[in-house]
């Protein structure tokens, strides 16, 4: 199964990255390093670093918001709990295109958040907050958020409420209980959620395209760009492979550092 659905396409893409591109949009089987050489240029190295950077940041932001949120969600009474959960999961039904468009309107100057603020008197003039770095980050976090919650939820519901109560009877305020008990216990799923968001957002190409200027585009945008508009499939394949290998490397690095810093007390 693994061979058919993963290794074979992977291998095919690897082969394609070495093919020669023919003018007019096709490519022929060959073994040239043209695509890989192009990749080694400054622009693409810089784009790669940016992509990894913004996706790690999106991971951190998502976890920072989703973890406390999911924790309080699991502590809620049944009715609001279920309603909130359904609302969040329904966001999964939205495609990236819809999310991208919706946020570009929300952050725009015509009918967005700033217009509401002007109407309320908090601002003088409507402003456009997109395209911008923050807009891309926001969009990435938004699409990854439900998945993040899905990763955290099972473990957090299973957390015995008496454990946090015990901490409180020993003098820990709710705030300290959260940091000294809930977060350490949740460490494995925090890591899992963080890495999930990282990998997931790395593959997003519509959000950065909609909500960011070219300087905010991630490598995924370029990959789809090269494959569809420039019809340079071998190059796209090379970039995609490079991105995959690199993100695997980042994941491995994060997991390695995490296991090294685990303490007993």
């Amino acid at each position: 199964m693994l061979a058919v659905f993963f290794l074979a396409p992977f291998g095919f893409m690897l082969a394609t990255s070495f093919y020669r591109r023919i003018e007019g949009g096709f490519y022929e089987p060959a073994f040239v390093f043209g695509s890989w050489q192009r990749l080694a240029h400054g622009v693409f190295i810089e784009r790669t670093l940016f992509s990894i950077g913004i996706c790690l940041l999106a991971g951190a932001v998502c976890i920072a918001v989703a973890f406390p949120f999911t924790y309080f969600l699991t502590r809620m009474r049944r009715r609001p709990h279920v309603i909130l959960l359904v609302l969040i999961m329904s966001a999964l039904a939205l495609s990236e295109v819809i999310v991208g468009f919706a946020w570009s309107v929300l952050l725009g100057r015509a009918a967005g958040i700033s217009n509401i603020l002007v109407w309320l008197g908090a601002m003088d003039e409507a402003q456009a907050y997109q395209p911008s770095f923050v807009a891309v980050l926001l969009g990435l976090c938004y699409i990854a958020f439900p998945y993040c919650i899905l990763t955290l939820y099972p473990q957090l519901t299973r957390l015995d409420p008496e454990v946090t109560e015990a901490a409180q009877t020993m003098g820990a305020s709710p705030w300290r209980t959260f940091w000294t008990v809930v977060v350490p216990i949740g460490r494995p799923i925090i890591m899992a959620g963080f890495l999930l968001v990282f990998v997931f957002t790395l593959g997003s190409y519509l959000i950065p395209a909609f909500l960011g200027r070219p300087e905010h585009w991630t490598l995924s945008v370029f990959i789809s760009d090269q494959a569809t508009f420039n019809a340079n499939v071998p190059f796209a394949a090379a970039m995609a492979l490079f991105l995959t290998v690199l993100s695997l490397g980042v994941v491995a690095l994060v997991m390695w550092t995490e296991s090294r810093t685990r303490r007993a007390f």
């Binding site: 015995d160 901490a167 409180q168 009877t169 305020s173 008990v181 350490p184």
Partner: protein, 338 residues
Amino acid sequence: MKRFGDVVAVAGVDLELPAGKLISFLGPSGCGKTTLLRMIAGLERPTEGRVFLDDEDITDRPPHLRDIGMVFQTLALFPHLSVAGNIGYGMRIRGVGRGDMRTRVEELLQLVSLEGLGERRISQLSGGQRQRVATARALALEPRLFLLDEPLSALDANLREQLQVELRLLQQKLGITTIMVTHDQREAMTMSDLVVVIRLGEVEQVGAPLDVYRRPATPFVASFIGRTNILRGEASDGLVRIAGQTFDVDGAVTPGAVTVSVRPEDAHLLVGEVPERNALSGRVVFVRDLGELFECYVDCGLEEHVVVAGSPRERVHVEQGERVTVSFPREACVVVRG
């Protein structure tokens, strides 16, 4: 008083508990005893009423500001910390220095007979060991109040009895005011200075274990603690009649329905039909002779069989079907209602 929506979990409880003693909240599952304990701990807010600790009103104080140590039913040990980490948690929160903390943790490990196990993970411990860690952890900061919520219910019978004695000895050694919730009346009888019997959110009786046993205040208390024979009858003109026989009972009676409780070991078995006061005749239904214990079930025409129990010395040789008389001495006939 504590109400959850439409359900009244605890109603009108007004208790004053002595310091330095072990007090049990005893009752069947769902009777509100755990809710009561949690209100004392600050984990539940009373719908009405106040909680006082040494004349201080602590009702509005959150649990982390009350001077308590609590052992939970699930023990609630921290899985991410070692044994020493668990025990030292309270001290860590308070900012106690490393050296002092280590000394105190050692002290506590010795107190609960877990020396040398400081570095173990919780998952590596047996049930009994975990119980001891939970106890040490709760006592680490020398709280004024030690609370236990069914602390031994997860353990097997032998271990439970052993730990009952250990916990009691520990409590006596430290002299700490302790409140323990349990549904096991033998546990309450073994360990307590004072028993609070609770049923459906209300206190039925408060007293020393033997007092509650010998002089139950209600039919519920009489049958919940130990076994008893419940005899129902009528009182009129200063006389009590049960199943047509005249009875002298211990306690004041008002005219009307009367319920009397007699412990099996206080009743006597007489062969044949002996007409006298405070006696019922009947037929032997079953004899249970366990060597160390002798029991006889007699059908005296009441709703339930009368049980007569005794030690081997008091064994009366009767057979199934034989007609006998059960005598209920006056001092043993405790009026529990009416």
